[in-house]
Amino acid sequence: MDQLLQLVLAGLATGSIYALAAIGFTLVWQTSQTINFAQGEFVMLPAILVLAAVKFLHLPLPAAVLLATGAFLLLFGFGFKKFLVDPMLRHGVLPLAIATMALSILMKEGAKDGFSAEAQQFPSLVPDGAVNLFGATLSLRDIAIFIVAVVAIVLLQLFVTRTRTGRMMQATAQNPDVAKILGIPTEQMILLTFLINAGLAVLASFLISPIYLAKFSNGEVIGTAAFIAAIVGGFNQVRGALLGGFIVGLVDNLAAAYVSSAYRAAVPLALLVLVILFKPEGLLGRKEERTV
């Protein structure tokens, strides 16, 4: 029982990071009806940028964090929309999806060649240690990651549903033409969505890199897990991505403990197949109908 409780908390902690990345999938989907195949690399890169700023610019860590965050928001929030999404979307969603695949390779190889092919230590925001709860030893870092990620997601949900700007974002996502007629600055709303996506990626990166170590290839694992989480939870719902992240994190950890490490990656995929077969819109997703 103690072991199960420990595994559940560790799974929820990892799952909450997957959820942050999965929300990125849903945000891009809602604004451009496409899948950002570079989402995993979006989570990989901020930590690498921080370490690069420390190494090459000799900045202290807090300054490096600020600079890397600013640079990432500029390049992969504003720049991603302006120089990749906008030009490619004019040609349809498929060219955009392919362009994000190319971007993912570019980001991965760029991090490898421009910084390092080796894993690097990334400082943890939370001190090491453990607490005892109901007889089980729980990692302080797992608890902190879970809380930080969930608070961020709840704040995002409140922003989207309870503020005027958030509702304008929702309106833009649901029907940009009508939103424009109603006087909503849709371009700004879409840009804000991309900035939020980049911000969540930065947060996920800073939370997961102390565990995974900062490495150019981290995006593969995170991107796959977040993609499965987004589909399982519902690609068009932020709360779906949250649920999906938790489920994937839990299933992954329990599979590693009770099935085998070799097959741990297969179990979430099996779950994905079941969801696609029986509830293709995802557990909390809403059905979308399109005219073709």
Binding site: D2, Q3, Q6, L7, A10, G11, A13, T14, K112, A117, E118, A119, Q120, Q121, D128, G129, A130, T137, S139, L140, R141, D142, P210, I211, Y212, L213, K215, S217, N218, V221, D252, N253, L254, A256, A257, S260, S261, A262, R264
Partner: protein, 382 residues
Amino acid sequence: MTLTKRSLMLATVALAASLGAAAAQDAVKIVGVVELSGAGATAGTNYKNGAQLAVDEINAAGGILGKKIEFVVYDTQTNPGNTRAAVQRGVDEGAFAIFGPVFSGPIGASMQIAQKAGVPQIVGGEAAGLTKQGVTTLFRTSLNQADAMPKLANYFKDAVKASSVAVVWVNNDFGKGGRDAIIPELQKRGIKIAADIATESGQADFAADAIKVKNANADAVFVYLNEEESARFLRAIKQQGYDKPIVGETTLLGAKVIELAGAAAEGAKGHVGLSVDAPVAGFAEFGKKFQAKFNYKSDHNGIKGYSGMYMLKSVVEKTGKFDKEAFLKAAHGAVIKVKDVPGILIDSKWDDNGDVDRESFLAEVKGGKQVITGTLPPVNKF
């Protein structure tokens, strides 16, 4: 074009060709086939850098038998298929020797190519099975697991005084070989295996494995993973408040693992084949040179690459010619001593299978550094 201009051009081309031919005659090609990216990037980069340091020194001192070493390196991306292709490329390019790889799986996948071509292959792998397949071109630069594990099992019994051990290993040729070698050795000494946990190469999240180890309630845990995974595991198990001995073999106590794991590496202990912190003058000297050139501390793989290149130099000079067949004959059974070849760093002997034997060390991580706590003799005296 005038006749004079044409003659000048022809003369230039002829001169360039003759210079190129002369340069080729004055150089011997050694192809490095190493893991510069992928799961083995840390190990491969150290191995390559160690070898490069030796190449630079040897070339600066006039080369081998008057020939400079042309050291060309290909990245395998820690992929067995790429490794085979790179070894084949090295053979096709007329390499005198292949240097690497370090990971046992890619070595196993590529060694038949070198064997078929009769090209010596100097590798960093430790899996016991590599030198049991009758490959006459393969030479290790590190101890065979089959030789290291009995030493480690004695350590569990005599120093750690463990009556039960949880074994965590990486599911590749290196890890499986280590797991298969340590478990019978532990059982022979009456030590119970409390948990036998396989993990995957390149695995990022070790929370579940750490929780399983903790709940196994063994007296100690034996960790046999590659560098990056070792660091991730150490971080994960410390997060669980684990306070029992964490014991490993060479990799766990390596400089890169200590750097990546940070405080989580503190207290880890075990057996190391090679270490710049060992009380061996050559290792310390090498460590300083490596640090000065590459600006970081070498792990055991750096020593493997460096001493392996000097092993090659020593054997070639012994035969007096660049003859692969003569090299293979002379390398089997070669005893190379530091007093004769300082670059070998520690007295070493290669047997008929290509296994190397030498002193090894017991170590512990203290104050963020690997501290050597004892020296163990070679398996067979020489």
